[in-house]
C-alpha cells in the first residue's frame, strides 16, 4: 500500500505504535516533509501520548485479599481496623492483634477516639408530632348487621324478578283494560240488542240453549253493572299512577262481583260466537299475567295487615291498595326481627283520616316527621 493523503492516518498510528519498518518510517518522514499541514497535525498528536502511570497504586490492596489468616495491621490498614473496631466487626484474632498494635501506637489511639466521635446518636427530642393521626381504629361489625346484610341481599335477589314481572304485568294490564274499556260499552249495548233481537226473532231455539243464553245474559249484566259502578271517567291521558289505580279498581271490583264458578261454567258452555264477544270483557279469560302480582299483593297485604287494621280502626276511608308506607312497615318489621330490636312505624291521622305525622320508633332512637 503506497502512502498517500488518503491513508496516512494508518501509517501514523503504526508509527506511534512502533509497528513500521525502517523503510516505511523513512517513507513516512519524507511524506510529512512534502505535506507540512499533516506534519504539524502529527506533531500535535505526538505530544499527547498516554503514559501507563505505573506508579499509581490502589491504597488498600491488602484488604481485598482473601487469606486464611487475618490481615496484618500496619499503617496502611489501621484505618480499616479502627472502623471495624467501632463497628464491633473485629474477629477474635483481629481483636487481639488490634489491641496489641494499639498499645504500641499512640497515634492509633488518638485516631480511635476520633472515629468513636463519628458514631451518630439520635436526638430523642425529635418526635413525630402527629402520631395519633397514624393510628387506626378497629372496625367491629356487629353480628346482626352481617345477618341483616345477608337477609337484605337475599330479599333483593328473591324479590327483584317479582318486582319486574309486577311492573311488566301492570303495564300490560293497564293497556288491556284501557282497550277493553273502549270496546266494552258499545259492544255490550250492541250485543244486548243483538241478543235481544236474536232471541226475539228466533223462535226455534232449544230449551237447553235458552237457559244457557239467559245465564250468559245474567253474567254479562253483572259485569256491565260492575263496570258502570266503577265510575271510571275514561280519559286515557291519565298519568301512570292513575292508570295503576284504575287498573286495581277494575280488577278488584270485577273479581269481587263476578261469581267465579258460574263465570267459568258459563263460558265453557257458551258457543264460539258468544265467547268471542264476551272474552275481552271477562278478567278470568285474560292471560295470567296477573298471577304474580296477585301473589305479591296477597303476601304484602298479609304482611301489612296490622297497618290496614289500624287504618280501619281509625275509621279512615282510605282505599286498601298497597302503598310505599306498607312496604316501609314491612321493611321495618324485617329489620326489627333481624336485628332483635323493636322497630315500629307509627302514624297520626286527623279526623278526616289523613296522615298528619309519621314516626320510626326503636329501642335506641325515635324519628318523626310531620306532613
Amino acid at each position: 500500500m503506497k502512502l498517500s493523503r488518503d491513508n496516512y492516518e494508518a501509517y501514523l498510528i503504526d508509527y506511534l505504535d512502533g509497528q513500521l519498518s525502517p523503510l516505511q518510517v523513512a517513507e513516512l518522514l519524507l511524506f510529512l516533509e512534502q505535506n507540512p499541514d499533516i506534519k504539524s497535525e502529527f506533531e500535535g498528536i505526538e505530544e499527547f501520548s498516554i503514559n501507563d502511570n505505573s506508579d499509581t497504586q490502589y491504597p488498600h490492596k491488602d484488604l481485598l485479599k482473601k487469606n486464611a489468616f487475618s490481615t496484618p495491621i500496619n499503617a496502611s490498614t489501621i484505618e480499616y481496623f479502627l472502623i471495624r473496631k467501632i463497628e464491633n466487626d473485629l474477629s477474635y484474632d483481629d481483636q487481639a492483634q488490634f489491641e496489641k498494635y494499639l498499645q504500641q501506637n499512640k497515634s492509633a489511639q488518638s485516631e480511635l477516639i476520633t472515629f468513636e466521635k463519628t458514631i451518630l446518636k439520635p436526638d430523642m427530642a425529635i418526635v413525630f408530632p402527629e402520631k395519633n393521626s397514624l393510628k387506626r381504629e378497629a372496625k367491629i361489625i356487629p353480628l346482626f348487621y352481617r345477618i341483616a346484610s345477608v337477609a337484605a341481599i337475599f330479599l333483593l335477589l328473591v324479590s327483584s324478578p317479582y318486582f319486574f314481572n309486577w311492573l311488566t304485568n301492570n303495564n300490560r294490564e293497564t293497556e288491556q283494560v284501557a282497550s277493553n274499556q273502549i270496546k266494552t260499552t258499545p259492544k255490550l249495548d250492541f250485543n244486548e240488542n243483538k241478543n235481544t233481537n236474536s232471541t226475539n226473532s228466533t223462535s226455534v231455539v232449544p230449551e237447553s240453549n235458552k237457559t244457557m243464553i239467559n245465564k250468559q245474559k245474567a253474567v254479562k249484566s253483572t259485569i256491565r253493572n260492575s263496570i258502570q259502578k266503577i265510575d271510571l271517567q275514561p280519559t286515557f291521558a291519565q298519568t301512570n299512577s292513575n292508570k295503576d289505580s284504575l287498573t286495581n279498581q277494575i280488577v278488584n271490583q270485577i273479581a269481587a262481583q263476578v261469581p267465579q264458578k258460574e263465570q267459568s261454567k258459563e263460558f265453557n258452555m257458551a258457543d264460539n260466537a258468544s265467547r268471542e264477544e264476551v272474552v275481552p270483557d271477562v278478567p278470568s279469560e285474560t292471560p295470567h299475567y296477573l298471577s304474580l302480582k296477585d301473589i305479591a299483593e296477597k303476601k304484602i297485604k298479609d304482611l301489612s295487615k296490622d297497618n290496614l287494621e289500624e287504618l280501619n280502626a281509625k275509621g279512615t276511608k282510605k282505599h286498601k291498595s298497597i302503598s310505599a308506607w306498607d312496604f316501609a312497615a314491612i321493611a321495618a318489621k324485617l329489620v326489627g326481627k333481624i336485628s332483635g330490636n323493636s322497630i315500629k312505624l307509627q302514624n297520626k291521622y286527623n279526623s278526616e283520616g289523613e296522615l298528619t305525622q309519621y314516626a320510626i320508633v326503636s329501642n335506641n332512637f325515635e324519628f318523626s316527621k310531620g306532613k
Binding site: E79, Y80, I83, I86, E87, S110, E111, I113, T114, F115, K117, T118, I119, L120, K121, P122, D123, M124, I126, V127, F128, P129, E130, K131, S133, L134, K135, R136, E137, A138
Partner: protein, 161 residues
Amino acid sequence: MTVKEFNSCVDLYADSLYRFILKNVKDIDTAKDIVQDTYEKLWLKISDVPSTNAKSYMFTAAYRTMIDKLRRDTKQTPLHDSHTQSLTSKNTFNDLKEVLNEALAKLPEIQRSVILLRDYEGYNYAEIGEITALTESQVKVYIYRARVFLKEYIGSLDAIM
C-alpha cells in the same frame, strides 16, 4: 398483623422513622409526608406484613419513598464538592453535635442513609442491605467511606474541643 399491632408500630417506630427521614431530607413537612405515606402503605399491606417484620418493612418503604422524592425534587451535591466545603469550614463549629450534623448533611445520600440506619437503628449490614437494596459488601464500603469522611470533617479532637 392486627390493628392493635399496627397501632403499636406507630408508638414504637414512628419517631425513629421520622428522625431517620428528617436527617436525610432536612425538611419537616417532607419527613412527615413520608412517614404518613409509609404507614399508609403498611396499612394497605396489614394482612401481608407480620408484626415481626413491620419495622424493616417500614424503613424499607420509607427509604425508597424518600429516594424517589429526593431524586425527583433535589439535585445531589457531588462528593468532591462536599469534601472541599467541609474541609474549609470545619473549624467554625464548637459543638461536636453540630459538626457531625453538618458533616452528615454533606454526605452523599446513600452513605448518609446507611450510616444513619447503622447508628440510629442498629441494623446489621445485611438488614441495611435489604432496606437500601445493596449487597452487604456495598453497605460495608459505604459505611467505611462515611466514617472516614466524618472523621476528616470533625478533624482532630483538639481542634473541636
